[in-house]
């Protein structure tokens, strides 16, 4: 089970939680935007920004370890 969890969710909780938060935020913005054009044209870049933030957050421990 541990190997399967590692396979699906990876080695850190930051990534799955970050991806989940990105998905939740995107669904909320999508609902709020309705048929307006801003989400259709800019929503992808909002997603991309969230994904980059999640990647940076998942790499933060590598920075902290070096500060010690």
């Amino acid at each position: 089970m541990r190997a399967l969890r590692k396979l699906v969710l990876g080695e850190t909780w930051t990534l799955p939680l970050g991806v989940l938060a990105t998905l939740a935020l995107a669904l909320i913005l999508h609902e709020l935007a309705g048929d307006t054009a801003w989400w259709r044209h800019a929503g992808g870049f909002v997603l991309l920004a969230c994904v980059l933030a999640v990647l940076a957050a998942s790499l933060a421990p590598a920075w902290r370890r070096r500060e010690r």
């Binding site: 989400w39 998942s58 070096r66």
Partner: protein, 247 residues
């Protein structure tokens, strides 16, 4: 065409690398125990994977409407892709040991040699279980990645073609094994797979949520470029920190 080529390359790299890891385990088991038991364990895992293909493909993916399917696939690809990319960045920055199937092979051999030898004429269950588990876990990731990449608008063809190329390549490599395995730039290849899977993840998630990507499929290219730029910035910054403060 962009989506087709990126899917093909992404599937070939991801499948090739996973198969390489599975092959390292089976070869290690086969060379330290009886090869027959290693093959039986691997074949058992392949049968379970075939079942997973039937469940994931026709029974789950084919029944979902396109947009929710793209959201599910995009999320799955982001989970896999960002994990590969995170590890790739850490390896290239020197904050993690490089990926090395040869080392995995040697470690697995050492672990198998520590076990009591199999009794003559009786099934070697430890060998079967270790080989089967290795193939099953690596193969499950292959099934999920190929199914996810194949669920895109370009269909299964490029993902399956990429997987087929990888299978031929890895089997070929297995025949002339040892030195080629040591020379493969695995860390760089896994980093590239992370970029490809993550950019497909963002792309599909956006499409599933009603985003019109400027440039259509060509968006995959600029998404990949942005991800490469961000990941390289992290590699540079983390390795610079390593240089400043010795571990």
């Amino acid at each position: 065409m962009t989506a087709f080529l990126l899917t093909l390359i992404g599937a070939a790299l991801a499948v090739g690398l996973e198969l390489l890891e599975a092959m390292a385990i089976v070869l290690a088991v086969g060379s330290t125990r009886r090869p027959r038991d290693a093959v039986i364990g691997a074949l058992g895992a392949v049968a379970l994977l075939a079942l997973a293909v039937v469940v994931v493909g026709p029974l789950v993916l084919a029944r979902l409407p396109l947009e929710p399917l793209q959201v599910v696939i995009g999320t799955a690809l982001l989970l896999f892709g960002l994990e590969w990319l995170r590890k790739g960045v850490l390896r290239l920055a020197g904050a993690r040991a490089p990926s090395n199937s040869l080392q995995e092979y040697l470690d697995e051999r050492e672990a198998m040699e520590a076990l009591p030898p199999p009794e003559p004429g009786r099934p070697d269950w430890p060998a079967r279980v270790v080989a089967g588990k290795g193939v099953l876990l690596e193969g499950l990731e292959v099934v999920l990645i190929v199914a996810a990449l194949g669920a895109g608008p370009q269909g299964l063809a490029p993902a399956v073609a990429g997987a087929a190329v990888a299978v031929v390549f890895v089997i070929g490599l297995g025949l002339v094994l040892h030195r080629p395995l040591a020379r493969l730039p695995e860390s760089h290849l896994k980093y590239a797979v992370g970029i490809v899977l993550s950019c497909f993840g963002v792309f599909f998630l956006g499409e599933g949520l009603g985003v019109d990507w400027p440039g259509g499929d060509a968006a995959l290219l600029y998404l990949a470029l942005v991800l490469v730029a961000a990941a390289q910035a992290q590699v540079t910054a983390i390795s610079a920190r390593h240089a400043q403060v010795p571990a």
